[in-house]
Amino acid sequence: MKILEVRNASKIYGEGENAVAALNEVTLKIDAGEFIAILGPSGSGKSTLLNVIGGLDALTQGEIFFQGDKLSLDNDNRMSEYRRDKIGFVFQSFNLIPVLSVYENIVMPLILSDQKPDANYMSELMIHLGIESKKNAFPNQLSGGQQQRVAIARALANKPEIILADEPTGNLDTRTGEEVLELLTSSGKRYSRTIIMITHNESIAQKADRIVRIENGGIVSES
């Protein structure tokens, strides 16, 4: 069984003359443990695809199945649980909560689902990502790379099935970006997570197991 299946997904913004098809009958199947890069230029629909997979936005047409279950945005509580327990997000702008410390930012998804953090796992995660010493610091005291590592740790904290990374190196310099990407990849493998990463950068995309190219809202090739 595929971990994720997207069937004929379409997303149209606006109406009539102003209607824009951000996704156009996209079909995609993803196996568990895969590292997928969705590559496309700006405006190609890659962010939209990530958003619908992550339950952040609703499809105009089509369906998405996660582990055989159809996703529906009608029930906000159910979708919140889906995002909390099954998905880990890594954003381009890190999006850490500025008033929470590094540790607090990391464990936040667990607290939202009333779970007590596994201290050993947290410690291991932070050591692996090289942020153990920054446990009590606040985001404004960290560099961009460090913030992104925290974001990755947060994404892994609740042991999700899938990690969705939206241009995770977009706000970083090349060297830091490579480090972060390496960490993301190794973390995914270490903890056996499926990673779906969107990027417009060919060389970054090459790190993935499979590249799905998207243009004008549709998948043009997979390799």
């Binding site: 919140s80 954003f91 999006n95 909560i97 607290i111 009333d114």
Partner: protein, 796 residues
């Protein structure tokens, strides 16, 4: 830049509307209260001699002394406006009904000094001319006209005999606005002197000088020094700085110098509300800039100069200010014209015209402009401290550092979601401490005013002023001057009872022991106690709550000071002397409370209550100084009949209790309306403040909130965090307000009246209402965002 400013304003309709409405409400409220206060302050302005003058008088001097002082004053050594030479010892009564007339014999401008206004005719200039209040025609049987002769019994002092004097009416004075218990007349000084000589009255202390001076220029010490040098010793004598004859003037001065409770109350309220209003305006301007910091950052990245950005912000604020202040002032004027005038008339009891002083308009304009100016300046300064890049990424928490003292404390202690919500809410409040502080202060002021006003009103018993008396009778007859040896005897009571239309008459005697009777009890000093003699019929009426039994020979004593040793009196009083060595025995009981109004206006160490039987036995035949009359007659009818009775003296006054009660309730209603107005406005200001803050938070934390939703936080949890933030501020502010509210109610209010005390249940109730309001104000805007698309990066 103005075009940009217009675009921003039109694009953000909700923000614009909220800011302008906030300014409008603030200006309306400030203007309304200030104008009301002004109107009350200048109510009697026409009575004040040239506005801000003091009158001072010197009394009880001989003619020679008076002449010497007058010469000194008139010579211009002091800055004296008007000098009036008086012989003020003439008193008279209307022959037909005994109503008192006080005739001032004067030389000088009596209208300037006393505030008399001529209704008709002229002030006296010839011997035996008289000018009298025009309401003489209400009380006299004859209707007098200018030129008519009037014969009046005149006496110069209490020791003189009356002599019949005939005057020619030269004019009528307009009735004094506040009324008086006697008529006022004016004749020439020469006439008064002639009458004094005729009566053989030694008027060595009958003369007086009344002087008006400019308040700010009056140097009392210098005047006293000058006069002392005349060799008459201390010139003060019976010096006072206010007229005592003209009640209207006394009241006018009280209000002009802000002595009246209403005036002081309004001033305090205006200040408190202005502070709250200032914070709202400050917050609104601040937030409107903060919400657009990222956009300003982008503009700066694109090349906009600092000065251009300043002009952009100023243009926007200018539009808010012009619209807000202009509409607010106009609306304030309209509100006052429609509503405030009626409310003030209810409170004051007579017509109050709205003051139209330019200073009010200018004050409000300046205050609102100053606040807007200061908040704009501070906002621009904050903007300029950010680099363009910092501005683009602004989250309010750029420099956030926890203030925890230990590393341990920094870790999230909350492992449960609810605790985490509280934890995050608390942290969010410290993102922007000045914003939180402004919201806190706004809620604090609003909560404090609500608590204090509610407490104040709940302590008032509207019927207290007449209360028991109103239940028993419609009218109260009392002596006007406690220093006069005037009583209402049983014979008069019987005569009054016999009048057609009178149902019953009840006697309440009250007197000080030192003036009429003494009780000498070994080890105890009674002279500071009042003696109240209640007749049997009255005691029957109030006996369910009062222990004085008409059948029993028992006296009740109420002691103000708990320190007085009642135990010495607890046994039967063995020996009482009334000056005639008569021994009387009776029981004495101590009481903790008395029926209200029975003590109204009285002072001393305490009160001794006896029934008339006991009073007769102890003190002999007794007379009353207060009676209640239950009658179906109207006021004028009853009073004129009483005045006509044989043996009736001229020192009694009839009060219409019902009218007084209605006036009291009307006044209270007026004050209550003002209080409601104040509470509604401050609450609105507080709600607007919170709602601005919530809106700003939603705007500034858009991507952050989007991220929270993306990682699995439900809408409800996110809403709970924002609501908790506001509830925390509301709780802390209202708890602090409770502390001050209880303090004010316990310490300051009792100084107005001992009946005021803190009513504790009010405070937690207001805290609960405040918290609920804070939560609801945050809940609805958040609720409106539940169905919006989750955005994890900033879309501007």
């Amino acid at each position: 830049m103005r075009r940009f400013a217009f675009r921003y304003i039109l694009k953000q309709k909700k923000t614009t509307f909220s800011i302008i409405v906030g300014i409008i409400l603030t200006v309306i409220m400030m203007f309304s209260l200030m104008q009301m206060g002004d109107s009350i302050a200048v109510r009697y302005e026409s009575l004040l001699v040239k506005g801000q003058q003091f009158d001072f008088s010197m009394r009880h001097m001989s003619a020679q002394k008076q002449a010497d002082y007058a010469r000194l004053l008139e010579n211009g050594e002091a800055d004296i406006e008007d000098v009036l030479i008086l012989n003020e010892s003439l008193s008279s009564t209307l022959p037909e009904n005994g109503m008192d007339i006080s005739i001032i014999g004067s030389e000088g401008d009596v209208s300037a000094v006393f505030g008399f206004e001529l209704a008709e005719g002229a002030f006296p200039s010839q011997p035996y001319e008289i000018c009298v209040e025009e309401r003489i025609n209400t009380y006299a049987e004859t209707t007098y006209k200018i030129g008519d002769r009037i014969s009046l019994p005149i006496r110069c002092s209490s020791e003189s005999e009356y002599t019949e004097e005939t005057f020619v009416i030269s004019g009528f004075i307009k009735d004094l606005p506040t009324g008086s218990t006697y008529l006022i007349g004016n004749t020439t000084l020469g006439t008064a002197e002639e009458i004094s000589n005729k009566q053989g009255y030694d008027n060595d202390d009958a003369r007086a000088i009344f002087v008006t001076v400019e308040k700010n220029e009056f140097d009392s010490e210098r005047i006293y020094d000058i006069m002392s040098n005349l060799g008459y010793g201390n010139p003060l004598g019976d010096l006072s700085l206010k007229f005592e004859i003209n009640d209207a003037k006394v009241q006018a001065y009280d209000e002009a110098i802000g002595d009246s409770f209403m005036d002081k109350g309004l001033k305090v309220l205006t200040i408190a509300l202005s502070v709250a209003a200032v914070f709202l305006i400050y917050n609104s301007i601040n937030l409107s800039v903060a919400e657009k910091i990222r956009q300003y950052g982008t503009l700066r990245c694109l090349g906009m100069k600092r000065s251009q950005l300043q002009r952009l912000v100023l243009s926007e604020v200018l539009i808010y200010a012009v619209l807000g202040i202009g509409i607010g002032q106009a609306a304030g004027i309209l509100l006052n014209m429609v509503v405030a005038q009626s409310i003030m008339s209810m409170v004051i009891g007579s017509e109050v015209l709205l003051a139209q002083r330019p200073v009010t308009y200018i004050s409000v304009l300046l205050l609102a402009t100053a606040v807007i100016g200061v908040s704009t300046y501070l906002s621009i300064r904050k903007l300029q401290k950010l680099t363009p890049l910092q501005a683009m990424k602004y989250t309010e928490a750029e420099n956030y550092k926890s203030r925890s003292f230990s590393r341990e404390n920094r870790e999230v202690k909350a492992s449960k979601r609810n605790q985490f919500i509280l934890h995050l809410a608390g942290r969010n409040l410290s993102r922007n401490r000045s914003k939180t502080a402004v919201t806190f202060i706004s809620i604090f002021i609003s909560a404090l005013l609500c608590m204090v006003i509610l407490n104040f009103f709940l302590c008032i018993d509207p019927g207290e002023n007449v209360g028991m008396n109103q239940k028993i009778a419609k009218f109260q007859l009392y002596r006007t001057n406690e220093l006069q040896d005037v009583y209402i005897g049983e014979a008069l009571l019987e005569d009054i009872r016999g009048l057609e239309g009178v149902n019953n008459v009840y006697g309440i005697g009250s007197n000080s022991f030192s003036y009429s009777h003494t009780l000498n009890i070994e080890g105890f000093y009674f002279s500071d106690y009042l003696l109240v003699v209640l007749d049997d019929a009255l005691i029957q009426k109030i006996s369910p709550t009062f222990l004085l039994n008409p059948e029993e020979e028992i006296a009740l004593i109420y002691m103000y000071d708990d320190g007085d040793d009642f135990s010495d009196l607890s046994d039967a009083i063995a020996r009482v002397s009334d000056g005639e060595n008569k021994d009387v025995e009776f029981n004495l009981k101590r009481i903790e409370e008395v029926p209200y109004h029975l003590l109204s206006g009285y002072s001393g160490e305490g009160v001794l209550f006896v029934n008339d039987k006991l009073a007769d036995r102890v003190f002999g035949e007794y007379e009353y100084i207060d009676v209640l009359i239950d009658s179906d007659l109207d006021y004028e009818d009853l009073f004129s009949q009483i005045l006509k009775m044989n043996g009736m003296t001229d020192q009694l006054q009839l009060a219409d209790i019902e009218a007084g009660s209605e006036d009291a309730i009307k006044e209270l209603t007026g004050i209550l309306l003002i209080a409601v107005f104040v509470i509604v406005f401050t609450a609105t200001l507080a709600v607007l403040n919170i709602s601005n803050t919530v809106r700003s938070n939603i705007q500034l934390r858009q991507s952050e909130n989007g991220m929270l939703r993306a990682i699995g936080m439900t809408n409800k949890t996110l809403t709970a965090i924002i609501c908790t933030e506001n509830a925390l501020v509301g709780f802390m502010a209202s708890v602090l307000a409770s502390f001050f509210g209880i303090l004010i109610s316990a310490v300051i209010f009792p100084q107005i009246d001992s009946k005021f005390h803190p009513i504790i249940p009010i405070f937690p109730l207001v805290i609960a209402v405040v918290m609920l309001t804070c939560i609801m104000t945050a809940y609805f805007p958040m609720r409106a965002h539940w169905n919006t698309t989750i955005r994890t990066h900033i879309d501007e």
